[in-house]
């Protein structure tokens, strides 16, 4: 497989110029995630109004995959309901951990489908899902550090 199927243009772009890459002052929820394999760390901030994620942002260090994934995640869930965000996580997670040939919900994922190639790179699955795990932790409680072990 060509490595460019992993590093698709949208991923490279979001790595270069991540969206929502900042602290969120009015955040009602936040969590921190740590990937012990590389030492990278990501913080996710959420502003919730009722059931809606009115604003989302992230900070931290990471590889192209994790940064782009965090960036695209914030875009995808901003303004969405908590329920919707959780469903996206499910679809995303099953896409990046799918076995070769297995069907995925790629089509429902919009831009996030760019991470379809990750499943061919088992060592990088954690990178793609790190920010999502942190989001989940942030929604679960107010402040927590998670380490991802797939």
């Amino acid at each position: 497989m060509d490595v460019r199927e992993l590093y698709q243009q949208v991923i490279l772009d979001h790595n270069r110029r991540p969206k929502n890459f900042q602290l969120l002052d009015g955040a009602s929820h936040r969590a921190e995630g740590y990937n012990p394999l590389c030492g990278d760390r990501i913080e996710v901030y959420v502003e919730m109004k009722g059931d809606v994620l009115t604003d989302v942002s992230f900070q931290g260090s990471g590889c192209a995959i994790s940064k782009a994934s965090a960036s695209l995640m914030t875009e995808a869930i901003k303004g969405k309901s908590r329920r919707h965000a959780e469903e996206l996580f499910e679809s995303f997670h099953s896409m990046v951990t799918a076995r070769p040939g297995e069907a995925t919900k790629k089509n429902e994922l919009g831009k996030l489908a760019a991470f379809d190639g990750v499943r061919e790179f088992p060592a990088r699955v954690k990178c793609a899902s790190l920010s999502w795990h942190v989001l989940k932790a942030a929604l679960r409680c107010n402040s927590e550090t998670v380490t991802t072990e797939e």
Partner: protein, 407 residues
């Protein structure tokens, strides 16, 4: 540059139906194995396999003989004091933990100081932190200079604390820095401390004499020096071992077992509780034979040659930054390329068949001091050659292209 021309001895480096050619540049993590070592291990299982020491039959006599021969080979290879001072362990990590637990608990007390260094591997840091916590002792970490050498001034300052032990590596796995042991060890002894040298990266690459260097404890792993996994050794001054309490209790290490308490065997048996990894020791012995056949000096020269070639070739690549000292460095090359994350580099290179390591290399204190989370690292061994360097460089250029396209 010399060529050792041994690649053909390493089956994993040959392309086959299942996979293509691998350029293996991660020997600092673990080395590949020559046919000769794999054959020796297999032959052991097919001809001599049995438990050792306590058998009165032929197989057990053979196995015991092979096991003790391997001990002698290790003794000679690292210039140990005496084969009684060679304890087989799973590897470096276990050897260091053995010392921290056995020697450490009896000799490091509340208020004492243990000196470690910021250049070391977690395996030579965490056991001392754990010991210090248990005993109420202090850990003093010696600093590194900006180019990744041990800060000898700071070491001198640390020695003023009259530490009980100084634990440091000979060669840094993250940067390749070779510590000037002949200069350092006398200072340590003058300060009244015992020295433990982590030889995980020296045993495979540098002709070493533990006794000439006056090292008290020397630890290394077989899997990094062409030997099998699951075997390594602690090489120590026998007088120190004689006085130490056993680390683990069990078969082989006892003299007589009473209902309430027991007496222990003499060294080295005292520190080898349970069935040893005889096949592993035999494989390590075969690896030593193999290395001796090439010659440790030839190996060092070969690696230095590749290192300098790589340094030169990589300097052609704009944005490539090398960590570590210019001189006194083993065949380890830690680097960064532009702002490309090391794991992304490793993934791109892997698609070109080049295996490098990305990460903190189990040296987080060092990474903090270098101001990075991780680095990309290529490390060289007997089976690497000029062409490997070229493939590496091309892979890096490809990565640069992929990632700069987005700029």
């Amino acid at each position: 540059m010399t060529t050792l021309d041994v690649k053909a001895d390493f089956p994993i480096l040959e392309p086959d139906a299942e996979r293509r050619r691998i350029i293996y540049l991660d020997s600092a993590a673990s080395s590949q194995k020559p046919r000769q070592v794999l054959d020796a291990v297999r032959r052991f299982y097919e001809v001599s396999n049995s438990n050792v020491h306590r058998g009165a039959y032929d197989l057990a006599v053979r196995a015991t003989k092979l096991y003790e021969e391997a001990r002698c080979k290790v003794t000679e290879f690292v210039g140990g004091y005496d084969s009684r001072g060679v304890i087989f362990t799973r590897g470096t990590t276990e050897a260091i933990n053995l010392v921290a637990n056995s020697w450490g608990r009896d000799n490091v007390r509340a208020g004492d100081t243990v000196v470690i260094t910021a250049l070391d591997h977690h395996s030579n840091i965490v056991p001392w932190q754990m010991l210090a916590k248990q005993q109420g002792a202090a850990v003093r970490m010696v600093e590194v200079t900006e180019d990744g050498r041990l800060d000898l001034e700071d070491l001198r300052a640390a020695l003023k604390l009259r530490p009980k032990i100084v634990a440091l590596n000979y060669v840094s796995n993250a940067l390749g820095t070779i510590n000037p042991l002949p200069e350092i060890i006398p200072l340590i002894h003058e300060a009244g401390a015992v020295v433990l040298v982590d030889g995980a990266q020296s045993a495979p690459h540098i002709a070493t004499s533990v006794s000439d260097l006056d090292i008290d404890f020397y630890a290394f792993s077989g899997h990094k020096m062409l030997g099998p996994m699951g075997i390594g050794a602690l090489v120590a001054r026998p007088e120190l071992l004689d006085e130490m309490n056993p680390y683990q209790g069990g078969g082989e290490m006892i003299q007589e077992v009473g209902d309430e308490q027991s007496t222990y065997a003499d060294i080295p048996a005292k520190f080898e509780a349970g069935t040893p990894n005889v096949a592993g020791a035999v494989g390590l012995g075969a690896a030593i034979d193999y290395l001796n056949d090439i010659g440790m000096d030839a190996i060092h020269e070969h690696e230095t040659g590749i290192l300098h070639l790589a340094l030169e070739r990589l300097s052609d690549i704009p944005g490539l930054k090398v960590f570590g000292p210019d001189e006194e460095r083993a065949g380890v090359l830690s680097f960064a390329l532009d702002d490309i994350h090391p794991h992304d580099l490793a993934t791109v290179l892997d698609q070109e068949g080049v295996a490098i390591r990305a990460g903190h290399h189990c040296t987080q204190p060092l990474m903090r001091r270098l101001g990075v989370q991780s680095t990309a690292r290529a490390s060289f061994y007997v089976y690497n050659d000029e062409s490997d360097v070229e493939v590496l460089a091309c892979g890096l250029e490809k990565a640069k292209e992929i990632f700069s396209y987005a700029a």
